[in-house]
Symmetry: C2
Subunit: 393 residues, 2 copies
């Protein structure tokens, strides 16, 4: 009666819903403070003061026409500000025409895939990866191919990448800092990747776009910096959101920026704006376009996230968990204590621990924890982890 | 290098862009007040005072967590309020589970089509119709079939509908008040349609959904009322937005409501929430969900629209234009003075009149005017229409 494909997806994801329901059941039974829910990446952080003040300024200004439609690409003054900020960071000349405001990064990725993909074309990415990428690519007739990474670092393996690139490869999707590992690929690795891609492009006479999904780019620790993919790759398309950097996840505000070095970039940007409309986004929410345009230099409190990372990483590794130390984002991706990560996560619920199996990220044998939660809950969870470890000894 | 399909669409729509560019050129040359731009449905009306005050209340409250993710279906308190408002209007029992908050009606329609359509299934609609319906249905593997209407009333012709329904018909998309005609189908017509559909459903052993795209439902004149499709059709799905009723077009806020009479409605609503996520909308913008939930009884100034409709209808018919008098929305859809509506619209630009050809709505020989513009412009345009009519005498 409904879409068979969608109903199949619903059934497949029913175990995730079952887990959330189990979480809700546990919370009701034991009290919310006694359930350790590390399952969802819903940032606890409030927007920075500057964002709150800017929002007030716009709302109190009673400016006429503030909530009307604008061009499908968004307000040009906001796009110009974002372009100049990226230009400064990357050294690549950009202006408003290269930027399209979007309904978050999820909206932006769908707009990019719709604009780029012909039937059967492939998008490569590196496991573990955000599982929705499969659906986003499939929505527009493409095929996602996830390549394994080096388990010691979760960095791409260029020999595997070389074999993975085919004449059908339309794009390579890079997510740094990575969800779920928190890893930032090194500039050297990315530069070597650029050389490899250029070689394959000339071998196959194709163009391969580098898509950077970078909603966590501002959430980095230890003075790390995310390398500028615009600076490294000619055919770079940046997809970003303010969900994490400004604590605005529910407001759905982000952007796409296409490098001015892309051949026919104007045609591409027209296609992006058209797809923003035809996919039903129409335009990014008006008020928050204005707000983010005025607060590009603002950032949520990173120290709070760092404190959580340090505490959890220290305690979990002390308990014997193997884990690559995250350099950004707000996730840990430790190795499960048995090979079957789904079974492991199920057994963790006995101690009121809600985790997500690595299988959900194309990387079985691991589990993800979101530490964008209250610090007190993290502290209290350690005793539960101790019991969990005890069970597997 | 990019999606061939998208580039083809871009080229096809290039004459529209050319017209807009011509409009901008004319504005620059003659001054904005001397160009009569009736081309875009971007409501001039500001949000009602209650909406503005509610927005201020939320922003000044400094409530924590206001901008975070919520469930993909939206805030349950807001959904419950919408459900109860629709229940009161239709007599059909509804609760929060039947309502999914969306990124406007455009987002809502895409979510509905994704959730319903299997490859090759058909969606019927009535011409003239909002041309984006083609893309929305095509995005999800379906096929839009537009049926002609009675040119004297622009109401559906049930004999044509009967022939149009096939075993592949998954849904019938109804838009009242209609864009571009402003026509509201009568309750009698809709009830007869229901009988016909029931007969065809049992003939083919299928389920046919009635999709009501009703962003103009609150913009009606002369004490007209839009019949409740929830009350008339068992398999009704309402798609609505606050773009026009509350003047919030740029903020992208709307909803889907599925009738509790639909078999397996819970499964359908789970599918809708899933598709809201997987299509990249994730959730409707958080702040404006809260705002519309508190202002469901508010409405933009309808008298202003009525004044425009009356003035334009009176003057254009006096000048000899044939036109069905709109009962709602903010469009006029008169007959062009020659059969070739695209040529007609091109020649109108000579008098600085920007109109949209009926061909863009699957109905050649007519043109659309959006009268959601400043009244002074409408007044000044009459002299230009006089000259245009003179040219075709």
């Amino acid at each position: 009666m409904f879409s068979e494909k969608v109903i199949t997806s619903l059934n497949k994801s029913s175990w995730i819903r079952a887990m959330f329901e189990e979480g809700a059941r546990l919370s009701q039974k034991y009290g919310e403070e006694n359930v350790y829910d590390f399952s969802i990446g819903n940032p606890y952080a409030e927007p920075p003061l500057k964002v709150v003040e800017t929002l007030k300024k716009y709302i109190l200004s009673d400016e006429k026409g503030m909530h009307r439609y604008m061009s499908n690409a968004g307000f040009s003054d906001v796009r110009e500000k974002i372009a100049k900020s990226l230009e400064k960071e990357s050294g690549v000349a950009l202006n408003a025409n290269h930027v399209i405001m979007t309904v978050g990064a999820a909206g932006g990725l769908n707009v990019v895939f719709k604009s780029l993909l012909n039937p059967g074309e492939e998008v490569l990415t590196f496991a573990p990866y955000f599982v929705e990428y499969n659906t986003y690519v499939d929505n527009h007739g493409g095929k996602l191919v996830a390549l394994p990474t080096d388990p010691a670092t979760f960095e791409p393996d260029l020999a595997i990448l070389e074999k993975g690139i085919t004449p059908k490869t339309k794009a390579i999707l890079i997510n740094i800092p990575n969800n779920p590992t928190g890893v930032i690929y090194s500039e050297e690795k990315l530069k070597a990747m650029d050389q490899l891609i250029k070689r394959k492009e000339s071998e196959y006479n194709t163009t391969i776009f580098i898509l950077s999904d970078q909603p966590y780019a501002e959430i980095v620790y230890d003075h790390m910096k995310v390398p500028s993919l615009l600076a490294i790759f000619d055919n770079a398309i940046i997809v970003n959101s303010f969900s994490k950097s400004l604590g605005l996840a529910g407001e759905r505000i982000g952007y796409i920026a296409a490098s001015s070095r892309i051949k026919d970039v104007d045609l591409l940007c027209n296609a992006l704006a058209l797809c923003n409309r035809t996919l039903g986004f129409v335009n990014a929410p008006a008020l928050f376009q204005k707000v983010v345009g005025d607060t590009l230099d603002a950032k949520v409190d990173i120290e709070g996230y760092k404190k959580r990372r340090d505490f959890l990483y220290e305690h979990l590794t002390k308990l014997g968990f193997e884990c690559v130390k995250p350099q950004g984002a707000f996730y840990l991706f430790p190795k499960a204590l048995i090979a079957d990560d789904i079974e492991f996560v199920k057994r963790a619920t006995k101690y009121n621990l809600l985790l997500v199996p690595g299988s959900g990220f194309g990387c079985p044998g691991y589990f993800r924890m979101s530490y964008c939660v209250k610090f007190g809950m993290i502290e209290r969870s350690i005793a539960a982890f101790e019991k969990l470890v005890e069970e597997f000894k």
